[in-house]
Symmetry: C2
DNA sequence: GTCTATACAATGATAGAC
DNA sequence: GTCTATCATTGTATAGAC
């Protein structure tokens, strides 16, 4: 029977305590600015617990990123299976990705640091496969909308990249934030700018 | 007559040497991962030079950001004064911003770390004024295109934000980079997706 | 304005008991 | 698996000579 020392109600293991604390701190301060001591204090454990479970600071970071990537990719699978018109599914796909990023904001920021931060700021983890997979999936939906005649002929790659750019902009929480604006509304508006311009008008 | 010790051809002062070295390192590794020792070694000066000119590490960072912001905003002023149709000027404005970011990639990454990086990764410097100014300028061009009848009526804010999102995506050097793709071409393509959809068609 | 030399706190990590 | 205690290294920053 495990000891119960710091948290009377739920006695989760040190491993999980560390992961939970680390994602918050790495998400708020980035890899380099987050110290092992910070994490230990926030998790309420001592140093050997971290080094026993993860080997070192980088091991904890790596475990965290893997966990985050798998969580965020779940939203993709669900959104792909949705019903509705192709354009509706494009919107739903982006919306789902946006909501997932909001819900797991810390995980998203950790991944975002790898993707968009300085090249050598954090341990290098190759996430290009995940990024490419996201693009491919969204592009398939765009292609579907063109094939079905919902959208007019266009460069599907550029449409996909533009949609992704808008999604990333809405997901990034502080860039260009204007007073009294809601990122969710902005995402809807930006998607409309792109998609409405491609809808085949009534003759 | 100043001493000439490390650099036979151009004997610039320690202050400039530090700024040049720091922008490279901060751009490559971010604020926290870049150590004062790194900078000193790269600049070929000793510690007191840094602390004499900038007070501390954060002072050097701050000076660097201010320098970068003013450099990057020059491109805006020039692009605003350009001739051509409103749509051409929108494209030119984004193109100029993109080129400026490429040319001063390190400065851009330093600023980008503040705008899109983890909230507490680097010393907080309020750049919201610069961001808002950029949005306002681009939006004025979009509004002009609508007023002149080049573009159909639309939500100018959302169009502006979408354009900015595409610009930022193309400027971010590693996010979703696909094999054999050129960010400059992608920017052109994404701008076309947005603007061509808004062009008023011939009846 | 720049150097040599150094102070001193914070960092990531480990040994060994339990 | 987790604790106490500690280490070696690296971090930012300064004193004082020139």
């Amino acid at each position: 029977m495990p000891r119960r020392k710091r948290d009377p109600e739920s006695d989760i293991g040190g491993r999980e305590r560390l992961l939970a604390a680390a994602v918050r701190l790495f998400g708020a301060k980035g890899y380099a600015a987050t110290t092992v001591r910070d994490i230990l204090r926030a998790a309420g454990v001592t140093a050997p617990v971290l080094y026993y479970h993860f080997g070192n600071k980088e091991g904890l970071w790596t475990a965290l990123v893997r966990e985050g990537v798998s969580k965020l990719s779940v939203a993709q699978d669900e959104a792909m299976a949705a019903a509705g018109s192709a354009v509706d599914r494009i919107r739903g796909f982006c919306r789902a990705a946006y909501e997932m990023r909001r819900q797991h904001a810390d995980s998203h920021r950790v991944i975002w640091e790898i993707l968009s931060g300085p090249p050598a700021a954090a341990p290098r983890l190759d996430l290009s496969g995940e990024g490419a997979r996201f693009i491919e999936r969204l592009r398939a939906l765009v292609q579907e909308a063109v094939s079905s005649g919902e959208l007019r002929a266009c460069n599907t790659l550029h449409v996909t990249l533009a949609l992704t750019a808008c999604l990333d902009a809405a997901s990034g929480l502080r860039v260009y934030d204007l007073p009294g604006s809601d990122p969710g509304d902005e995402l809807e508006g930006m998607m409309s700018v792109i998609l409405d311009g491609l809808v085949i008008p009534f003759e």
